[in-house]
Subunit: 130 residues, 2 copies
Amino acid sequence: MASRDVEGRMETDETSNLISASKVQGTTVYNADGDDIGSIYDVMLEKVGGKVSYAVMSIGGFLGMGADYHPIPWNRLNYDTNLGGYVLKEPVERLKAAPTMSRNFATDPDWEQQNAGWTRRVDEYYGMPI
Amino acid sequence: MASRDVEGRMETDETSNLISASKVQGTTVYNADGDDIGSIYDVMLEKVGGKVSYAVMSIGGFLGMGADYHPIPWNRLNYDTNLGGYVLKEPVERLKAAPTMSRNFATDPDWEQQNAGWTRRVDEYYGMPI
């Protein structure tokens, strides 16, 4: 594009492709109609490969209490630069029966053992290749 | 492997390949000798592709004050399951002259504009393809 001959501008574009994890945490999630349906609570990363595998979306609740935490395969979310948030590529009704996580999944050392196989259940639910 | 015929075990292995961003934040970074040289302050993600591009490593300081924040290309870090942390694939001395970030980079709305081109500077410094 012509505007790309301004070096500074091109570099700004490049930088704006990135977002810090701390900023993703809390980003609003919208449905296809652009309604606010929840927010990103955390993201699950591959320790080795460094890919974002799942977003953990929090829905409902009040001041962080009583919310549901749904792990969503990352590719079921689209970042929408106009909305400044993620759009869920699933009808929100589908989340009602979807796998949930406890709020303390990230810090409870026993959580993984107690929830072995959650990635498989999530992938199956959303029709991801397993 | 033979141990993989136990389904639960295989699934536990799979799950332990993942780590939440909130747990990565604060994970210790070691040098090649296994010495604690700092910690992960944040991770920079591609908004669209969902790849971890950079870790922001904090070095030095006391109770969060006076630390340096170095963006490091993610592939310059190795996750070491025995250490339970990341090993920097660079001599720590190299960080002295390396690009730094301000602590508020993630929340300051003007930071990107003021720091256009930082990804290029970081990639050049660490010899990444640009």
